[in-house]
Symmetry: C2
Subunit: 202 residues, 2 copies
Amino acid sequence: MDLQKRSTEELILEAAQAVFLEKGLAGARMQEIADRAGINKALLHYYFRSKEKLSALIIERAIGVILPRVMAVLDTDMELFDKIRLVVDTYLTFVSRNSFLPLFIVNEVNRNPHFFFRAVVEKERNHLDKFRRQVEEAVAQGRIHPISPAQLFMNVMSLVIFPFLGKPIIQVGLGLSDKDFKREMEHRRTEVAEFVIRAIRA
Amino acid sequence: MDLQKRSTEELILEAAQAVFLEKGLAGARMQEIADRAGINKALLHYYFRSKEKLSALIIERAIGVILPRVMAVLDTDMELFDKIRLVVDTYLTFVSRNSFLPLFIVNEVNRNPHFFFRAVVEKERNHLDKFRRQVEEAVAQGRIHPISPAQLFMNVMSLVIFPFLGKPIIQVGLGLSDKDFKREMEHRRTEVAEFVIRAIRA
DNA sequence: AGGTAGTTTAACTGCTTGGTTAAATTTATG
DNA sequence: CATAAATTTAACCAAGCAGTTAAACTACCT
């Protein structure tokens, strides 16, 4: 079947993802997706009936790949500081290889929170509970500075994801070449976690 | 002239901004802009020839409002920690009142870095030099943990801006109502700066 | 060899959208 | 009041786009 070479279906999905990420949902063209997949528009519609259905698939796929990764780490029994180190590293590695994904997700989630709501509420609920309790406990024991789990969660997410969203702003603002930027991102893999830990350690 | 009520031109610009922020450049419709401005399409084109010219204006306006604010603060002679407190507070206040702006800017800057490049390079260059030297000096004197100005700048930007971009993600992930979210953002106004300061203070 | 799924070609429909136009109408302004 | 500017109306054009269709071709399967 499709053991040897990537199936047409996969080719289309890859092409669709690429185009959607680059141009956004509204900006993407079915013709371009077909072209990039090396097929024609008729076949594209033969596989995925409409643009809407195709885009829904891509969105689900995108969220479904990135979300469980973080949640899985946050849900372990690992010690808090190590958990922070691991989640930063995991996330940063993944996003480095899919640098357009955050912008796409953030966009579509803002445009239509419904998708995301379903995706999370129905599956990934209370995967944060362990993390939440862990933080509250550490605060109560005086091991870390008082901070709400929500704020800490936001801070970690922010430090990891934003630089990819704001890449052009940061590059222009700081005068970094592509190589420079990549190097700074490499630094971040270790520095962000230590930054956070220094900020909360009592 | 246009002293009493807002001129038609302003009405259009406001409507255009609203629609562009909501739908994105590609998703925005000239008809909708006209409707929201309370005029008709003909008049819309009578004032601003094309969608492209109109959107260029909106982008420039958006960037031009938010960028100088941060730069002005970073360029003062203020002591480093106070500067961090001020820039966080200034930015957070502004963005709270224009919560769709960051998403729009981040989008368009990624889609077309050229705009932003011109806007910054031609005006706001080396407004970061003072901040840069300041950080390097503080590191050299051992007053703060070793950190590059670039990383520190990214961290502050991230912590301030990201929560607005990821609002739906955070809300769903943490199960926050709109009121909850707003309250958390209120906390951030003071907490983010202290978080950063604790992270770098030697 | 014949059938079936996958694929191409090429033309076409119907709708949306940006943009235009010309004439009519209203509003300000001197 | 008269003139010019602002605004509406309504129709229109051309281009782009999602989606359809039918016929032909290809490759593989049994």
